[in-house]
């Protein structure tokens, strides 16, 4: 039944999801090889979660072809789900059970013998550093702890593929870094990770390859580095002017750098040499309140591809 | 002159109620009507043809006997429920009491607002029952006007102490037991459906110290114009003291919970 190990784990061809007249996913093509860490990046409502739910076999495909482990979700949903782990956007932990029982019960859903569930639960709680909370109820745990329990629980069936929908949204910086570290270790063990996020730093940290989605479509694909190189010059000059005068001041800057973007709070100038661009700004007599030159990031790519207020 | 603080605390409960009043009023009116038709008329037909019934019921038909008791039982049911889960919700789930306490309202005023709300809710539901009773010639009397505040008072006598206790709970685990071991037995043995003189002596003595029995006696006496001033004062005194003690206790338990 399992296909050969070189075949892609997920293949989506012209995948479409519609809810009535609303098109959530509008014909995307994706291929995720085994062992890769793959990200869906996009603003809210871009179609990331709908795509994840189709891959998770909890939402039927409207159109197109989707194969996971070489199997069709429409007919083999059960087999597919038994081989993957899911970390949903909202933790769906069972508030009526303890941390350990949450894990054991979840294992039982996969028909794993009770004794084996216990063994794995112990191991996984160690892995997410929650051993001392095994007998605790869910309610008193912090958001970061609940997230870690959810991740530990999703691993109870030793999945080949782990789906994570916005794994660190709403967590404090410490909790995020703990999670990133654990996910990195999973990747090293050979687990294929597929995640959605709207945090650029998270995508840069975790993803080998990612797609940027906007309005149900894929607008770019590649490694974080490739995307930055392809869609953004090397450096960015950030200028701040007194509130409300950005548009007016920006017009003084025609021709500086390769491209300009006016945000509500600042003006971004994309240039191969940020310092040279800043010198040009000063030469023209423009006096921003502050100026900063930095390397361009995935966020710049993201704004470039999905932003609405671009001026080329 | 501004709105008194307690009334401002009450307003939040009333505002919430306005969103569900339709389904709530339907139940408040329909349920006593169903009980009256189902038990009063239906079982009444079986009771009244018996020979000893008139004796046992002190000359009343079964319908006349049962109907006024429903004023008190309804108030008890409605008010006890309001004093359990919504109290837990106010502290733990929706945290409305914490929100109120974060405003200039004091914990005592938060508790007072809730007590006032319980009285309101009791009054609303008892009025529903009274409206149903007014539909039937056997129970249509000016005594209903007196029975309505008596019924509401019964409700408050339950709600106030229960509120104080609920505020000390950390979870709602024990609430079903209250319903099962206190409210349900009172409903069945508190003198609403048959005279407590039919109970074994020891049960009769217990029944006589429960607030429900006092409430039922007040309402039944008022509707049929048989209430002596002396006994009425005793019943009222019992219910008022329960309500007062409960309210004072609630001020303390609320203050503890909201200060923590």
């Amino acid at each position: 039944m399992p296909t050969d190990s070189n075949a892609p784990l997920i293949t989506a061809e012209h995948l479409v999801k519609r809810f009535g007249d609303f098109v959530a996913v509008d014909g995307i093509d994706v291929e995720v090889p085994r062992g890769e860490s793959f990200g869906f990046l996009g603003p809210n409502g871009a179609g990331k979660s709908s795509t994840m739910r189709m891959i998770g076999c909890v939402s039927p495909v409207t159109e197109g072809r989707l194969r996971i482990f070489g199997l069709d979700p429409a007919t083999d949903g059960k087999q597919i789900r038994s081989r993957m782990g899911v970390v949903p956007q909202m933790d769906q932990l069972d508030e009526q059970l303890t941390v350990e029982d949450n894990m054991i019960l979840y294992g039982r859903y996969f028909d794993i013998p009770r004794a084996e569930c216990k063994r794995r639960a112990k191991e996984l709680l160690e892995f997410v550093q929650l051993t001392d909370r095994a007998k605790s109820k869910i309610e008193p745990l912090s958001g970061g702890m609940k997230r870690r329990v959810t991740i530990a629980r999703s691993l109870i069936n030793e999945p080949e593929l782990l789906l994570l929908d916005e794994p660190t949204t709403g967590l404090d910086p410490q909790a995020r870094h703990v999670l990133w570290d654990r996910l990195y270790r999973l990747k090293q063990r050979g687990v294929t990770l597929v995640l959605t996020t709207h945090y650029m730093d998270e995508a840069e940290q975790l993803c080998d390859r990612l797609v940027v989605m906007d309005q149900g479509k894929i607008v770019a694909m590649g490694s974080p580095r490739e995307l930055i190189e392809k869609h953004s010059p090397r450096e960015v000059l950030e200028l701040r002017y007194p509130a409300g005068t950005n548009d007016e001041r920006a017009s003084d800057l025609d021709g500086v750098g390769n491209r300009r973007e006016v945000l509500p709070d600042r003006v971004l100038i994309y240039a191969d040499d940020g310092e040279a661009a800043l010198a040009e700004v000063h030469r023209r007599g423009s006096r921003p309140e502050s100026a900063l030159v930095r390397r361009s990031s995935l966020e710049d790519v993201f704004l470039r591809l999905t932003g609405r207020s671009l001026v080329d | 002159m501004g709105t008194p603080a307690t009334v401002r605390a009450w307003e939040s409960h009333f505002t919430l109620y306005r969103t569900i009043w339709k389904s709530n009023m339907l139940g408040a009116f329909l349920q006593p009507l169903l009980y009256l038709v189902g038990m009063g008329l239906g079982v009444g037909a079986l009771v009244d043809r018996g020979d000893n019934a008139e004796n046992l019921l002190d000359g009343l038909t079964y319908f006349q006997f049962l109907a006024p008791g429903l004023l008190a039982t309804t108030a008890m049911m409605v008010c006890t429920n309001e004093a359990m889960w919504p109290v837990m919700g106010g502290f733990k789930w929706m945290r409305g009491f914490h929100a109120q306490a974060a405003s200039p309202l004091s914990p005592g005023e938060v508790a007072g607002g809730l007590a006032l709300w319980h009285a309101t809710k009791g009054l609303i539901s008892v009025t529903g029952v009274a409206a149903v009773l007014a539909l039937f010639a056997e129970t249509r009397s000016f005594g209903l006007l007196l029975a309505v505040p008596f019924g509401a008072l019964t409700g408050v006598a339950f709600a106030a102490p229960l509120t104080a206790w609920s505020a000390t709970r950390e979870s709602d685990n024990s609430f079903p037991a209250i319903n099962r071991f206190i409210i349900m037995p009172l409903f069945l043995f508190g003198g609403a459906f048959y005279p407590i003189s039919q109970l074994p002596n020891w049960m009769e003595s217990i029944a006589k110290v429960t607030p429900l029995w006092h409430g039922v006696e007040l309402c039944r006496g008022a509707v049929h114009g048989r209430l002596g001033v002396g006994e009425a004062l005793v019943h009222i005194a019992v219910l008022v003291s329960l309500a007062l003690v409960g309210w004072l206790a609630a001020r303390i338990t609320f203050a503890r919970k909201l200060a923590a």
Partner: protein
């Protein structure tokens, strides 16, 4: 009869037919109750005691004997089996409405289960199964209490138990199906407005004959069909009418399970 036997296969949808591990949902309930919910369940055993005692000391003395089917029966023995049927309904409905709603909307228990190999049919059958077990437990307690108080009239009274389980099953299924249509807690205010008339007007407290021309209304109530069977069995009587009563309750159960599975798929697997 051949067409009848084939009927369920055609009307029960694929969601239910493919359910292979509904017992996992029962295992969940077992794990939840292991912690202390048993006390709540145990305390439910007092309810029949209270009801039956009040019938005996209160109503029994007021009413005396009732004429049903041409013979006189002490009122307590007339009402007790009906209350047993009603308690099966109440136990099942309590679990399959409020408690299911909480797990569906707040705890997201079913969302979590559906991300695993479990299916909507597993969830529907497992949860309805648990509500049925709960109703059956209450009914067993009721029967034991009835027997201890000397309110059973024949050895056939033991037959009331399977009937009560069927009642539980039918109402659990319908209750859970209805719960999938609930939008908020406010909608539950309507539930007593449906349950109470059924409780009061299913020939529970007085014979069907006392309804005169309105008997057909009583016969619409599914609880009536349960009451008719428990009452006859308590007296040790059988009749062909049982066939009709059984069909009503079984049809209700099948319809409820089917609708629940379909609704869960629509709500949680869009």
């Amino acid at each position: 009869m051949i067409t009848l036997a084939g009927l369920p296969l055609r009307i029960v949808p694929v969601q239910v037919m493919q359910a292979t591990r509904p017992h996992r949902m029962l295992e969940r309930q077992w794990m939840v109750n292991r912690a202390g919910g048993w006390m709540v369940l145990l305390s439910g055993f007092f309810e029949p005691l209270f009801y039956l005692l009040s019938i005996r000391v209160g109503f029994g003395a007021l009413v005396g004997d009732v004429e049903d089917g041409g013979r006189l029966i002490p009122y307590a023995e007339f009402v007790a089996p009906a209350l047993m049927a009603a308690s099966a309904m109440n136990g099942a409905l309590y679990e399959s409405t409020m408690n299911v709603f909480f797990r569906l909307k707040y705890d997201k228990v079913y969302d979590a289960a559906l991300a695993t190999p479990l299916t909507s049919g597993d969830v529907a059958l497992g949860e309805i199964g648990y509500a049925t077990i709960r109703g059956a437990l209450y009914s067993s307690a009721f029967l034991v209490t009835m027997w201890a108080l000397g309110m059973t009239s024949s050895a056939w009274a033991i037959g009331m138990l399977p009937v009560a389980i069927l009642i539980s099953f039918a109402f659990s299924a319908i209750g859970m199906a209805a719960t999938t249509y609930m939008r908020s807690w406010a909608d539950f205010e309507y539930v007593p407005s449906i349950m109470l008339p059924m409780f009061l007007f299913s020939a529970t407290f007085y014979p069907l004959s006392s309804y005169g021309d309105w008997q057909w209304v009583v016969q619409i109530s599914p609880l009536y069909h349960g009451v008719a069977m428990t009452r006859s069995l308590n007296l040790g009587e059988w009749s062909w009418a049982f066939g009709g009563h059984l069909v009503v309750l079984v049809a209700m159960a099948l319809f409820g399970v089917t609708l629940t599975a379909k609704r869960i798929e629509r709500l949680l697997l869009p």
